[in-house]
């Protein structure tokens, strides 16, 4: 749970009440989770971030009864939010993301330093890896388990995505 530090605490009684079908508690839980879900969905789904956050919260609240331990709610919500964000981003497919090799090299006039522009050049899956590692601080094993890919795949995606990201960022 170390990666969950810094997040506002959520009263277990609020979670239990929402699980019992109390709609005011459910709305309160949504208020508590929305900033975190938005923080995860934004960098992965980009312009479709609000749609992804909406779909993620629907999925989270619909399956709330399956959450046994209220203290685990952030980790549980994170898994659903990241999967929903990747799904929504892939479905929208507004632009076909460039291959990582196509990300401009340093010095290329095309190069941009805006985080959003750099993220837009990655696939939703690469963005998910970056978010889980660089924003959430998960290790390869945990990120891989969440994304249903082997840790080695996470490592490869991360190395390439981070390199491209940092080149652009530092430029």
């Amino acid at each position: 749970m170390a990666v969950m530090t810094g997040l506002p605490g959520i009263d277990p009684a609020l979670v239990r009440a929402a699980q019992r079908g109390d709609r005011i508690a459910m709305a309160g839980l949504m208020d508590a989770l929305a900033p975190y879900v938005g923080k995860l969905c934004g960098p992965i789904a980009l312009q479709d971030g609000p749609d992804a956050a909406q779909e993620a919260l629907i999925a989270i609240l619909k399956s709330l009864r399956g959450l046994r331990e209220p203290a685990a709610i952030y980790g549980w919500a994170r898994a659903i939010a990241v999967r929903e964000a990747v799904r929504v981003a892939r479905k929208a497919a507004r632009v076909v993301p460039a291959e990582l090799a196509d990300v401009p090299a340093p010095g290329d006039p095309q190069l941009v330093t805006d985080v959003r522009d750099v993220l837009a050049r990655l696939t939703p899956e690469h963005r998910a890896v970056l978010v889980l590692r660089d924003l959430e601080g998960l290790d390869e094993r945990a990120a891989g388990a969440l994304l249903n890919v082997p840790p080695a795949t996470v490592r490869t995606r991360l190395f390439r995505a981070r390199r491209s990201f940092r080149k652009a960022w530092l430029e």
């Binding site: 923080k39 960098p43 985080v115």
Partner: protein
Amino acid sequence: MNQDWPAAGLDPVRRMRVLAATTPGVAYAEKLIPAPFDAVWDAASDLEHELPRMVTDLRSFKITSARGERMTARARGRLGQRAGFDVVLRPGWCVMQSRFLVGGMAAVAEEGGTRFAFLGGLRLPGMRLIGPLIRPAARKLALRPISRLEHRLRTR
């Protein structure tokens, strides 16, 4: 660097869509009302006066206590039914719940006016089963209070 990652916001109408999608059997509708947000929400959030106009089954809705955005209210129906409600009310957002009923309103400024959402329904066992069957009719039902509010705003 973290502060530069693009976060996704979830406005009150999107939140009400979430509540509608996760509350079995409720009536839900939204509509763009061609009036400024302040005018729409000033009217809609005046629960004691406006709610009985919007929901015609309701004879009265009296706020009995208020602390911050949390309130309690007592509702009376046209047939004499009574219900105590817990209410959360803040700009652009209102959720109400009694033992057997749930209601909600949300509003957000949008190009051309204000997007307004209305939710209402029963909190009963079995709504999960019949919800999908009544959804089309329920949407029409939920549009009526919005149309009444819109009419009121035009004639004020």
